[in-house]
Amino acid sequence: MLAFTLRRAIQAIGVMIAVGIISFSMFRFAGDPVNQIVSIDTSAAERAAIRKSLGLDDPVPVQFARYFANAAQFKFGVSYQFRLPVADLLKERMPATLELATCATILAMVVGILMGVYSALKRDTLLAKIFQAVSLIGISLPTFLIGILLIYLFAVVLGWLPSFGRGDVVRFGWWTTGLLTVSGLKALIMPSITLGLFQMTLIMRLVRAEMLEVLRTDYIRFARARGLTTRAIHFGHALKNTLVPVITVAGLQFGSVIAFAIITETVFQWPGMGLLFVQAVQNVDIPIMAAYLLMVSLIFVTINLVVDILYTVVDPRLRSTIDRPA
């Protein structure tokens, strides 16, 4: 068991180093940051001085070694645009992204499971067909388009919800939350739907397929033969067995929800890490780009690692194969 965990951890570190190399190589190829820092009529001598002070004149291996040593200590340097440490900027933006990602995931889970169960049980009803159609839209329409459509309808035409931003936030230490104010909650609705729609339709289709599968199995027939209530069969037995793969997928998807919040955050001007990243790309603010890439891969690697380990905890059959080296 320990050997397995260690092996996985070493693999994870390998992935992080690979990502580190990629994110460092951005420093070389993403355009000249000096142009973004100064104005167009800044003299060449001034530009050279700035280049030197940023360490952009050093040989590549030296820059790489410096970059890696700092990144290992969570020192990502100072943002070229904001003149603030990148770690501080990420810390400040993190609550917004995590809150949005969590809300989107919960929304996707709850609504997705309900819709999935319903369309599996009442396959031929009109509502089930509508759900199917909606899920097709959710899977095929790009996020930014959904966001803009929602803004147009609910902010411009109806005027119910704010079109951008996070509303008023309450501060607890370094954490800020929009969950405790009316404007904050209102501001959360459209971005959560936009971000969660893809996951929601994915879960809905997954639940529907699994549920149909489970309903055909023998133990459900036995349960019916025993005379259990339909309710107990559907929710006590069928749904429970459906949820194992759903939770796995949802867990893994949480990482991509955080990573793909970039687009939603841009459309809604949500002050999270994704927006920070997009602004960084536009301004060739490489320290932020590199740090963001590293951080997202760290989230992915961690979730994967945890899921791998959890499997063995949840499923004893897996554990026995691991402990017996092949």
Partner: protein, 533 residues
């Protein structure tokens, strides 16, 4: 422009009415596509940033609604000798923290703005010596006369010496700072607003400064600034009434905003000139199928290019009417004799003939560098140019890139790597000399290393350079304007550049808000009034 004056008068009258009612009661919400990065006024010379800073900081001089230089922290000034200026400072002005404003602050700011790391080095001449005469009088001694000294000072804001010293912010926050400085996160100016909170890249809240020395023309109690990068969201926020002012409005949304009934687009020509340039220095173009020689060295080819381009068509088709075709490399607002120049009509047949004379009857191939996220419809303009040049047989391969890559390639640090390009320029001193020096001046001048710094094509005429040097020190305005005219005539005769147009400003403004639009695109709310909700 009587209409414009009437509007100003109306605005002023409106402001007076409001000044009598309990003033400063409104919250104005403003969204810009760019963000406010540093609060240190010497860090970044960029229009939007300077406009933000102008709400909290003030210079010795400022520009009025028509861009004329007027007194600000300096009450008046005179030039007893051509090389010595005397400034009388305004008395009784206080910084936001209560410190009094004195001559020491001016001398301190003059040192700080010229210190290493400042982005405003060109605003205050290096040879200017600031001498304190008494607490409210400062002399500026120059090595050579400089009639546009105060014009260059717009955008140079005065900081509090004591405050900077106490907070370890004596040195300007350089663009490459590795630790954040106090001055980049806090402000202490003398201006009409103070900053209550500043989250870089997210939100900045300005509060009115009740102790401002000037009588406010606005009726605001606070300004909430948010950056909204996505154009569609920015327009939606304006139409839904969540923000009162947005800048810019994308050209394709102007109709929609005007039709909304809740907001309108304020539009006027900007002073930025968009033009095309050609590499006239290299013996062989970097990106062309002509080997061994440079077709742009032949004036006939440059003239043919000039004649092939139809600026009216660009205005009507690409800019949707929102541009002012230009014969000069400087905007008419900045040069009174602009009306003496007219752009010759496009003449594709004449252009073809010239190409044949120059030895290119079948044209040639050349790559054009173009930004695609810097100026209004920049990539579309280039696309139109490609089509127009195709008519005279020139095959243009368009390389439209984001500004980060574009500037990295074509500017001086990138080695001027371009054969044919589109660029926009606003003279930072609001004066023609800046254009004649930075854009039209010869590169590699041994005496002036900065001459021709943005002359990407390397156009060069020594006669023009000599004139530019005289223009800098000529104190007589009428004579000076005539010399500028001569210089521009040389540039036109050489077909050194192909000026296209001045693009239009487009601000989206709620009908509740009255705003003054200045041609340098600085959105300034100390002239704004907002009706009760």
């Amino acid at each position: 422009m009587p209409l414009r004056q009437t509007l100003f008068a109306a605005t002023a009258a409106f402001a007076v009415v409001f000044a009598m009612t309990p003033a400063s009661s409104q919250t104005l919400r403003y969204a810009n596509q760019g963000e406010l990065k540093s609060l240190d006024p010497y860090t970044l010379k960029e229009t939007t940033t300077i406009a933000h800073h102008a709400h909290v900081y003030e210079g010795l001089v400022t520009r009025d609604k028509d861009l004329k230089i007027i007194p600000a922290l300096a009450e008046s000034w005179e030039t007893p000798e051509p090389t010595r200026w005397r400034f009388h400072l305004r008395q009784g002005v206080k910084f936001h923290n209560g410190d009094p404003f004195t001559a020491d602050d001016v001398i301190f700011s003059a040192d700080r703005v010229r210190a290493k790391g400042s982005n405003f080095l060109t605003n205050v001449p290096a040879d200017a010596k600031f001498i304190k005469i008494d607490d409210y009088t400062v002399d500026v001694k120059l090595d050579s006369p400089n009639p546009i000294l105060t014009s260059q000072w717009d955008g140079w804001f005065i900081m509090d010496k004591k405050w900077c010293e106490e907070n370890n912010a004596v040195a300007p926050t350089p663009a490459s700072a590795t630790t954040p400085s106090y001055a980049s996160l806090h402000e202490n100016g003398t201006g009409p607003f103070t900053i209550e909170s500043h989250q870089p890249g997210v939100k900045t809240v300005f509060k009115v400064n009740p102790n401002w020395w000037r009588k406010p023309e606005h009726n605001l109690k606070e300004i909430v600034f948010t950056s909204i990068g996505s154009a569609a969201t920015r327009v939606a926020a304006l139409l839904s009434g969540e923000v009162d002012v947005i800048e810019p409005v994308p050209t394709q949304d102007i109709q929609r905003v005007n039709a909304s009934g809740t907001a309108t687009v304020m539009s006027a020509p900007e002073i930025r000139t968009i033009f095309l340039g050609m590499d006239q220095v290299r013996d062989e173009l970097l990106y062309s199928n002509i080997k061994g020689k440079n077709p742009f060295k032949d004036i006939r080819v440059r003239e043919a290019f000039y004649k092939a381009i139809d600026v009216e068509l660009i205005k009507n088709r690409v800019m949707r009417g929102l541009s002012t075709p230009s014969a000069l490399m400087v905007a008419p607002q900045l040069y009174p004799l602009s009306k003496d120049f007219t752009r010759t009509k496009p003449d594709p047949d004449g252009a073809k003939k010239l190409m044949a004379e120059a030895g290119y009857p079948d044209g040639f191939e050349v790559t054009m560098d173009c930004p695609n996220d810097r100026y209004v419809n920049d990539a579309d303009i280039c696309q139109a140019v490609v089509g127009m040049l195709a008519r005279i047989g020139v095959k243009v391969n368009l390389l439209a890139q984001p500004k980060a890559q574009y500037f990295g390639k074509v500017l001086k640090p990138g080695g001027f790597q371009t054969s044919f390009y589109l660029l926009g320029w606003t003279p930072s001193s609001m004066d023609s000399h800046n254009v004649l020096y930075d854009i039209m001046g010869c590169r590699d001048d041994p005496k002036n290393a900065t001459r021709g710094e943005a002359n990407l094509g390397g156009y060069c005429n020594k006669e023009l350079d000599a004139l530019a040097d005289k223009i800098l020190i000529e104190p007589d305005t009428a004579k000076r304007d005539q010399m500028i005219k001569q210089a521009f005539e040389i540039g036109i005769k050489d077909y050194g550049y192909i000026p296209l147009h001045q693009q239009a400003l487009a601000w989206g403004v709620s009908k509740k808000v009255k705003l003054t639009q200045r041609a340098d695109n600085e959105v300034l709310f100390y002239w704004a009034t907002k009706q009760d909700e």
